[in-house]
């Protein structure tokens, strides 16, 4: 299995996470999913990588970017990997 550059921390059936997945798919980006618990207090791994316990959060090793909040993530992905992006 090849290791995708983008890791998505997600919660099963979280609409904000699905929004990010849709963007990843639209842009044809490879990603790996790491599922965490619904309980906020159980998400130490997300806090460790992103500084907050909220999901979705992505880590993009290609660019060194770590980011939370789906609107920010979608904007970042489109700006970086979309048409006309950097």
């Amino acid at each position: 299995m090849t290791k995708p550059q983008i890791t998505l921390y997600r919660l099963q059936a979280c609409p904000f996470c699905e929004r990010v997945v849709r963007t990843l798919n639209e842009l044809g980006l490879e990603y790996r999913s790491r599922y965490v618990e619904p309980m906020h207090s159980e998400r130490n791994v997300v806090k460790r990588v992103s500084g907050a316990r909220s999901v979705p959060a992505i880590v993009d090793r290609e660019t060194g970017v770590t980011m939370s909040e789906s609107a920010n993530i979608v904007e970042y992905l489109q700006g970086t990997y979309g048409e006309g992006g950097a």
Binding site: M1, Y9, R32, R34, Y35, V36, E37, E42, N44, V45
Partner: protein, 169 residues
């Protein structure tokens, strides 16, 4: 131990010593998250691969208490597998099995491939794993195998301890 015959399980063509443990991909759960992982990618040294009945059944509880008591997770990678969901594995790992990661195989496809399927009487539609223990070296060669032949049945912890020592040293 008891004055009646324990139920015997039928003969099975299971993964055995000398075989290469079949590769598979399933969600692998640790105490923080789960993600799809391939066994072949996870095994990079001596590994204890444990198949056990669904989380909550006392056989799994005993098995992981034995793993904890012997400190095997300090000596080599300990990887479990059952039909339980990642959420159930997380609860199990919060209570015991320190340092262990557990694959989730709800459809029992991996369990079938390893020749360990066990249809539980009175739980229609559920295919379970019979308890089984495989010690693997870094290229997934099975160095030690034990598969339950009775219901219930437990691996010989001392024999396993010896096998772990032989493999790790």
């Amino acid at each position: 131990m008891v004055d009646f015959d324990v139920v015997s399980l039928p003969e099975t063509e299971h993964v055995a010593e000398g075989d290469t443990a079949p590769d598979f991909t399933r969600p692998l759960v640790d105490d923080e998250y789960w993600e799809d992982r391939a066994l072949g990618e996870v095994v990079d040294g001596p590994t204890l691969l444990l198949f056990h009945p669904m989380d909550g059944a006392f056989q799994g509880t005993y098995l992981y208490n034995t793993v904890d008591d012997h400190g095997w997770a300090d000596d080599l990678d300990v990887i479990g597998l059952s039909i339980s969901t990642p959420y159930a594995h997380k609860r199990l790992l919060a209570e015991r099995a320190d340092g262990v990661r557990i694959f989730s195989d709800p459809g029992a496809g991996v369990i079938e491939e390893y020749g360990l399927a066990h249809d539980i009487d009175g739980m229609t539609g559920i295919t379970e794993s019979r308890p089984a223990v495989f010690l693997l070296d870094a290229d997934r060669t099975v160095e030690f195998a034990w598969v339950a032949s009775e219901h219930p049945d437990f691996p010989d912890a001392e024999a396993l301890d010896d096998a772990v020592e032989r493999l790790v040293d």
